[in-house]
Symmetry: C2
Subunit: 430 residues, 2 copies
């Protein structure tokens, strides 16, 4: 058994995890929080492996975690990932190596009674999220959306200097699968006073977020290198947005009710360590763009600060569901095309002394690539509702209709490495 946790030849005794198309091979080992469906059990930490979940509280009772430090074993038996996130990189690495030994086909730690079938589990929001921050890091998204609202000046003068962000709402973050209620709000025509009604321009935004690990004390900024180390792991984020509410409420303090009615996260946190083979250079700025300011610049970040995480959005209407049609692919893009890396976002976030706590969620902003088909939300894809997309049923969509299901998936692929999947981030509009 090699010590390389990325070795693509490694197999597990959990059979389905050895299939080429699984999101969760033994090289992945993402962490989440679950309980047996309908059980009302206290939630516990689990690890996704193929179509199964390794229950860490059960594993601990079986003595499988005996090699870990008491703090790490306690954190693994908790009801959120916050404790594991707080322990830092070295402990995370110990856990990864132990999990690999437990699940390795050549290991001697096969304990099927510590597994729960994913089909029998309810997957929850994996951390108690203290603060949720949402960035705006795709220059393609910012430019295309900016052109709809400010054609004369699509990209604000600060964009290439400041990783733009706002604080989102923690209380309304829900796990994949939670139905999304169409929000009501103030809707404004061009002339009249606003009326109140259900949003008529309900949209998704596909994003990837990172959970902060042991981060910084209030008043002490992180360097870019420190910020990189504080990334615990990544998940998919759907930043549901009501565009009609947004356009009316956002001056002068930014979006509020247009965003805070719900944010969906995928339940599995793919660790930074699992993603090591998929690091890539930071965005290559076109000639003429200013270089990042010194606190946002380092050769390490330029060389490998990015993550090549590919995201795909698909849509299934109620009629498609009834007809048994598969979800319709709407867009594909990669996190590698973002103007700022996660390390730059975290360094900027703490540059004024603001503290990140373990379990805080920091999202990328809508992930859009340069070309058509890579627009990460409907506002952008349909050019503000001007160009509807057509579904296989012939239905047209500018924004989301009731009964529409939005399915986001993310994964990493590279020759010579096992495919690392993120699972799904789903939600049906109700």
């Amino acid at each position: 058994m090699t010590n390389d946790t990325h070795d693509p030849t490694r197999r597990s005794w959990v059979e389905r995890s050895n299939s080429a198309d699984t999101d969760f091979p033994i090289q992945n080992l993402p962490l989440g929080v679950f309980r047996r469906r309908g059980s009302g059990d206290v939630p516990g930490v689990g690890v996704a492996i193929g179509d199964q979940i390794l229950d860490l509280r059960a594993a601990r009772k079986l003595g499988l975690l005996d090699g870990l430090s008491p703090a790490l074993a306690d954190a693994a038996a908790a009801s959120t990932l916050n404790g594991l996130m707080a322990l830092g990189q070295l402990e995370s690495s110990h856990l990864r190596h132990l999990l690999m030994r437990i699940l390795d086909a050549d290991g001697r730690l096969a304990e099927p009674q510590s597994l729960v079938a994913m089909d029998h589990a309810e997957l929850l929001v994996p951390a108690a999220i203290g603060d949720y921050t949402d960035f705006y890091s795709s220059i393609f998204h910012a430019t295309r959306v900016g052109a709809l609202f400010r054609p004369e000046n699509p990209l604000a003068a600060n964009y290439k200097y400041v990783p733009i962000a706002y604080h989102g709402r923690s209380s309304s973050i829900v796990p994949s699968g939670t139905p999304i209620k169409r929000p009501r709000g103030q809707l404004k025509g061009p002339d009249d006073a606003p009326r109140v009604g259900p949003s008529e321009r309900l949209d998704y935004e596909v994003e990837v977020g990172f959970f902060a690990g042991a981060a910084n004390v209030l008043g002490e900024p992180l360097t870019l290198a420190e910020a990189e180390d504080r990334i615990f792991g990544l998940c998919i984020v759907n930043d549901w947005s009501a565009r009609d509410i947004q356009v009316w409420e956002s001056q002068p303090l930014g979006p509020f009710l247009s965003k805070n009615f719900a944010t969906t996260v995928s339940p599995w946190v793919v660790t930074r360590e699992a993603l090591a083979p998929f690091r890539c250079p930071a965005f290559t700025r076109p000639p003429g763009d200013p270089p990042p300011l010194p606190y946002l610049s380092s050769p390490a970040n330029e060389g490998a600060g990015g993550f090549d995480v590919r995201v795909e959005v698909s849509l299934r209407s109620a009629a498609m569901q009834r007809a048994g049609l598969a979800p319709f692919g709407v867009s594909r893009a990669s996190l590698r095309d973002m103007y700022w890396t996660f390390a730059q976002m975290a360094a900027h976030h703490t540059s004024n002394g603001c503290n990140l706590r373990p379990g805080d969620l920091v999202a990328s902003g809508t992930i859009s690539g340069p070309g058509h088909g890579a627009e990460g939300c409907l506002l952008e894809m349909t050019r503000g509702g001007a160009d509807p997309i057509e579904l296989p049923t012939g239905e047209k969509r500018t924004f989301l209709a009731d009964g529409d299901e939005v399915i986001m998936r993310a994964y990493c692929e590279r020759a010579g490495y096992a495919r690392i999947g993120f699972g799904e981030c789903r939600g049906v509009i109700s």
Copy 2:
């Protein structure tokens, strides 16, 4: 002993609470979280009474809380106020009546061993604040600040319809007395690329916030009447702001690093019940202003939705401190002059289904009145730095200098009632 908890003739066996100038007479009974200074004790819930704190965990051990329901007694012995906030209005009222019996001069429950001198206590942030929301409810503030940045259009078209707000940062909320480190950030001249340095336009904003009690489930808006009931209690909030960082970063998503480096709260939560005698009509809209939309309108709110809480800001420079000079009064205003009431803010906040959790903090926005001397921040007071204020030492201030201490106080006064004070919200710039 009367059953009226607002009876101004009621006195306590804690002598200092009977003085006319105390913030904490027996009619107030604000709740906070404290520990003995330097003790490293687990924090506990306390009640301010004169210059003393009634320690509820100690009171419970002495059997003084025996009349309460087990849930209420447990919440009173916790380390944050969240549990008490979650129990709802009826339980809060039971607690208030019991505390009054314990502390009443005519009662038989005098137990000096359950008191801790305020001088010997460290006062903490009173709740685990899940989400912190900051409104922008003074039309005087919005108009004067708007005129500095957008002279042609000081008040955005949405202002009289939408209670404007943004999400702030929970992690950097600190209790009164915590030194405030001047933030660094991107500073931008009129032409050049930005440079990075300490903010040169550091400001305070005087606000009052409410802590949410048992509130709403995700997806279920609160009516205006329900929203009123979900206000647990109030505290003073200083929304420190770095104006140079703010002006450069805020487009298009609002303020971020210009605000999230620190927010100071006063440690005592003055309950809604204690404030009942100081309710006042909602703001009288001048002729020509549109009426509030139906979900923000009710006769009850118009008649008594406001709180006449008076706020005062004073400033003491390091030189004033060395010279033994008292803080210099800078401004006075009242929460009654806000364009929106707290109930309107909470109803709007939940109108899209967004959930408020017990312990969430919702702040008013800068409290400014109509006239000069009622500007709730230096940006407004000095007209963007054009008109410095002069301190008793002859020092001038446009924005805050290192060593400056900002002291905010708030109180309610009305003939025939005991004065209800909020205590202080202090911070020194370091």
